[in-house]
């Protein structure tokens, strides 16, 4: 109710002096679901970071090591990791299922006899790395593009906006697929920047690129509004160079929105990464990500569903936590910020 806010806003703003960031942090820490989501993320990240510890000291394996003719010990009995399939033409193999024993194939093996648990932890590192760096890159580039377009106006704005429109109108997955197909075999070399074909940076760059309009368009809108505010006009009027106005006056005011987008973008980037990897145009073997593990598990879906289900659950858990945290951050910082919802 506007009357209500009118009447409470003035004195409250005056009395509360800790600054917007502190206030937002306090708001966020009061938001129970956001705090729970942050805790979940903390656990997921910690566990993923501890992957080498698990592989080296508990499971005594590594995520790339195949055990095609290996054996392991379950309930004191020695069993083969891979059993030739009894049905069909005998071409398939059935890997060992979950043993629920941390030392020996806790979640079973995949069809190359690799320890699924170890792959899951290492895959988590990859997925999180790609999600976070792609989101960061995307938010930085998107904010920069949006600020420049909104601030400069005129021809610069028109050109940038049209380009963004075209990318925006493109189904993101198809765009990502196109880029991946072209870049996967040969890598990317743009001037001084060279990304190797099999590098993890390739999906990072691709994912960041396709989502730039998601960030840049709302940013541009905000800057257009800011541009007409008195304090910006005053700054321009006092003869400050454009770059300085953008950095000192505009950027601090759109920063909250960029930060709101970060967790939501990370969730989006992780889902995209997993889908691309599932389509075998994302993370390339021998690297594992949650998406590639799901793809590995596809052939085993009816016999060893854990290989597929476990990484999927982790993706769902992580992205759900990111979304809830993102909503909390948005409520605390900038309730009007809205990311285009499509995945």
């Amino acid at each position: 109710m506007s009357t209500l806010t009118d009447q409470l806003a003035v004195p409250e703003a005056r009395r509360r002096s800790p600054g917007p960031w502190r206030t937002a942090a306090a708001d966020l820490s009061r938001n129970r679901s956001a705090v729970a989501a942050a805790l979940v993320l903390l656990v997921v990240v910690t566990v993923a970071l501890l992957a080498p510890l698990y592989a080296d000291h508990i499971a005594h394996t590594n995520p790339f090591q195949s055990h095609v003719s290996g054996t392991t010990v379950v309930d004191g009995r020695t069993v083969p990791v891979l059993t030739p399939s009894s049905t069909g033409l005998g071409l398939g193999v059935t890997p060992i299922g979950p043993t629920w024993d941390f030392g020996h194939y806790f979640l079973g093996a995949d069809n190359q006899g690799r320890d699924v648990m170890a792959r899951l932890l290492y895959g988590g590192r990859t997925s999180l790395f790609i999600g976070v760096t792609a989101a960061l890159l995307c938010c930085v580039v998107g904010t920069a593009v949006g600020v420049v377009a909104g601030y400069a106006g005129g021809v610069v704005d028109s050109v940038i906006s049209r380009v963004l429109d075209v990318i925006w109108a493109f189904p993101v997955y198809l765009l990502a697929i196109c880029l991946s197909v072209v870049l996967l075999t040969d890598g990317l070399s743009l001037g001084p920047v060279t990304v190797e074909a099999g590098s993890l940076w390739l999906p990072v760059v691709i994912i960041a690129a396709i989502y730039v309009p998601y960030v840049a368009r709302p940013m541009r809108g905000q800057v257009l509004v800011l541009r007409n505010k008195e304090f910006i006009q005053a700054s321009i009027g006092s003869g400050a160079p454009a770059l300085r106005v953008m950095r000192r006056e505009v950027l601090p005011n759109v920063l909250p929105t960029a930060i709101v987008f970060l967790p939501l973008m990370t969730a989006l980037a992780m889902l995209t990464e997993s889908a691309l990897s599932f389509l075998s145009v994302g993370v390339q073997p021998p690297d594992a990500s949650w998406g590639t593990i799901i793809e590995d598990g596809l052939g085993l879906l009816y016999t060893r569903p854990t290989v597929t289900i476990a990484p999927g659950l982790l993706i769902a858990l992580t992205t759900a936590a990111l979304n809830v945290l993102g909503d909390g951050v948005r409520d605390a910082l900038d309730p009007s910020a809205r990311l285009r919802g499509g995945v």
Binding site: A169, F170, P171, L174, V182, Y302
Partner: protein, 322 residues
């Protein structure tokens, strides 16, 4: 209104053109790559390579190449897959289209209905325990990878519970609508639900935010002061205004899905739609098919966007003069 539609249509053509240029550049002008080798597929012999070079005019300047490409695709419609020799791209796409449309339209009906109901209910019940519960369902929907969900659905309906609860579920595949409408719907039921769950979550979350902020608008206070019932205020005023941004998002999503963004669902459920076509081409690095489907996709996206903008103008009187 007619003028508006015409102008919108022209700008759609412009975007189409830009997208085709973008796709063309991605495939033909990425530095350091020989497009011929890529079009010809893996392990192509020199003769094929030469043929590709000639057919796509790879020794000629970029604009000519672009025009040649467009001629193959739109005028002669003889763009040919070099991986599967002799299979033309355009007829394949035309054949796959009804499958994709069946999947996406059905799912869209479900997700719009469910999403609007959930979002409105959550907004109306804000402050009660029901709101966070509904929104949690929404978050789950948004956070599940669609293809993975499809796999789990398959696991349950085809294997684990197939002998009990889901014995009526047919094996993955597609039956044409004209052939047997009942089987058509039955085969598409789980693909519809899987695809719809994701989008229902997105739309419910989005709509809730819109409705909640609309309920704080002055015009809602006016409506209340007029003595209208809460239900009427919610539906005819708050929801009606909140639908405007939802509709514009729907256009983008619907176009993208018809254009192939539903490929994960199609792949998982074995539906021979455009997405599956793209996926298969991807597996073989069959570039002409990929180019064809991507441009087809762009066409649908742009068309859907233009239609939605016109619909948008019908929904929002303010947009008609913009």
């Amino acid at each position: 209104m007619l003028y508006f539609a015409l102008r919108r249509f022209l700008s759609a053509l412009l975007v189409m053109f830009s997208i085709s240029v973008l796709v063309f550049l991605i495939f033909f002008a990425t530095p350091g790559v020989d497009p011929a080798a890529r079009i010809a597929g893996r392990n192509a012999d020199p003769a094929t390579l030469a043929q590709v070079r000639h057919s796509f005019g790879l020794d000629r300047p970029l604009p000519v190449r672009y025009l040649l490409m467009m001629r193959h695709l739109l005028i002669d419609r003889d763009l040919e897959s070099f991986v599967n020799r002799g299979s033309k791209v355009v007829p394949q796409i035309v054949q796959a289209m009804p499958v994709t449309l069946s999947l996406v339209i059905g799912a869209a009906v479900i997700w719009m209905t469910v999403g609007i109901l959930m979002g409105t209910a959550a907004a109306a019940l804000r402050g009660t325990a029901a709101d966070p519960v509904i929104m949690l369902v929404g978050v789950v929907g948004v956070s599940l990878p669609a293809y993975w969900l499809g796999e789990v659905v398959n696991l349950l309906t085809q294997k684990r519970l197939h002998d009990s609860v889901f014995s009526w579920v047919p094996p993955p595949g597609y039956v044409e609508l004209g052939q047997d409408p009942g089987q058509w719907a039955l085969h598409l039921l789980f693909p519809w639900l899987t695809l719809a769950l994701l989008y229902a979550g997105i739309y419910a979350r989005l709509l809730r935010g819109e409705v909640v902020s609309a309920l704080n608008e002055d015009y809602v206070r006016t409506a209340r002061a007029k003595g209208l019932s809460e239900r009427r205020i919610l539906v005819r005023h708050a929801l009606r205004c909140s639908l405007i941004p939802i509709v514009s998002l729907f256009g983008l999503d619907f176009g993208a899905l018809v254009g192939g963004a539903a490929l994960l669902t199609e792949v998982v459920f074995g539906l021979p739609g455009v997405g599956k076509l793209t996926f298969d081409a991807l597996q073989n690095l069959d570039l002409p098919v990929i180019m064809g489907t991507v441009l087809y996709a762009a066409f649908f996206v742009v068309l859907a966007n233009a239609l939605v903008d016109i619909l948008y103008a019908r929904l929002d009187p303010r947009a008609r003069h913009a």
